[in-house]
Symmetry: C2
């Protein structure tokens, strides 16, 4: 098994790749570490260290070969097989990232969305939309391993229980409560309420702070 990369490195590699995929349209073959660094508001040394970790070295005069870099990042961070992602409670959000994953031949695939209420089985783009009651069956049958969860507090406990025993291995949680999950599930939490309150605070103080 390969060594496990640091969390921040994985995030940056994902960002480098996104930039490189755009950069390719410009017909450039090479890119310098300081150019990549500028996009991410980091420094060239960080970029070089990240790339060294995945076994890529640049040419002092030309920089990195873009196609090789993309390939090495694919090898380093992509899962070995296509992983299916489901969106629970925010189907529209699934559509917003569906496009990216589809265009770039990525190993992540938006496979299903789930919603509450009576409108079941509506398609959003090519993604089937199911009623929440079908969650356990669909996740199990379609081999979904990653779920993006954004449900209101009333449903957090119920959804946690379902996901805990579903075969799901990774969760991106946008609900305002923490999910109770067994330790084998990798969870990344995002708290929108806190971010909104932070924005409301700082937007009224423009001029006193540096933006972004």
């Amino acid at each position: 098994m390969k060594t496990v990369l640091p969390e921040r490195t994985v995030e940056r590699l994902s960002l480098y790749r996104r930039i490189l995929l755009n950069y390719q349209y410009l017909d450039h073959a090479y890119i310098f570490s300081h150019n990549l660094a500028r996009f991410l508001k980091t420094n060239a040394a960080t970029v070089r260290r990240d790339l060294m970790l995945i076994g890529v070295e640049g040419n002092l005069h030309k920089g990195y070969v873009i196609s090789e870099l993309v390939e090495k990042i694919n090898e380093a961070i992509d899962p070995d097989r296509t992983e299916k992602v489901a969106f629970i409670g925010i189907g529209e959000f699934g559509r917003a990232v569906y496009e990216y994953f589809n265009q770039n031949d990525a190993r992540l695939q938006v496979a299903a969305t789930f919603r509450f209420g009576s409108q079941t089985s509506n398609q959003i783009e090519d993604i089937p939309c199911y009623n929440m009651v079908n969650l356990p069956t669909v996740i199990n049958k379609s081999g979904i391993k990653i779920c993006v969860v954004a449900v209101t507090l009333d449903y957090v406990k119920e959804i946690s229980t379902i996901l805990a025993h579903s075969g799901v291995l990774g969760i991106l949680n946008f609900s305002s409560a923490l999910l109770q999950l067994p330790p084998h599930i990798y969870v990344e939490n995002y708290d929108m309420i806190t971010k909104l309150e932070k924005i409301a605070y700082f937007m009224n103080k423009a001029g006193n702070i540096s933006n972004q």
Copy 2:
């Protein structure tokens, strides 16, 4: 004008308040800094420093008076008047936070959602849902100051142009591209693609890393 608090302090104050509001149901009148710290996985010294910044001191033997603490946090981070928030592209997400802001008499109010396509003016809960073409008019007429944006790449440029001159002061951006905005607008970016790729990477390596 009051001194501007550090960004991380504002985020933590928002979280303290959320915890305290739940804690109140337990009929506790006091809370210790180390209890608050445990919820946030931080240390008691950080909590005490944050609270000192907003002028609250705890009692050595009893801790902090919860009701006073909530009030001081309200004073410190809430806007002076109610700010309206719109959700562009992810109405369902608006619903998920609507509940919280409504229950707690908060100064943030989910005021509108916008979607593409033919289904216009559908209500989600009590939040009106508009077609995207009405964005400039509605934002202007209803005095919306904060927008949560999650649109696909095709629309990023158009939405940026509209928001730049709309009177909006704060943006939470979930699109996978950066928005081109004038410096008086406070922007917080969230990159879902990166987080999904990170989850896909680490979930296959459970056991080698410490799980949150």
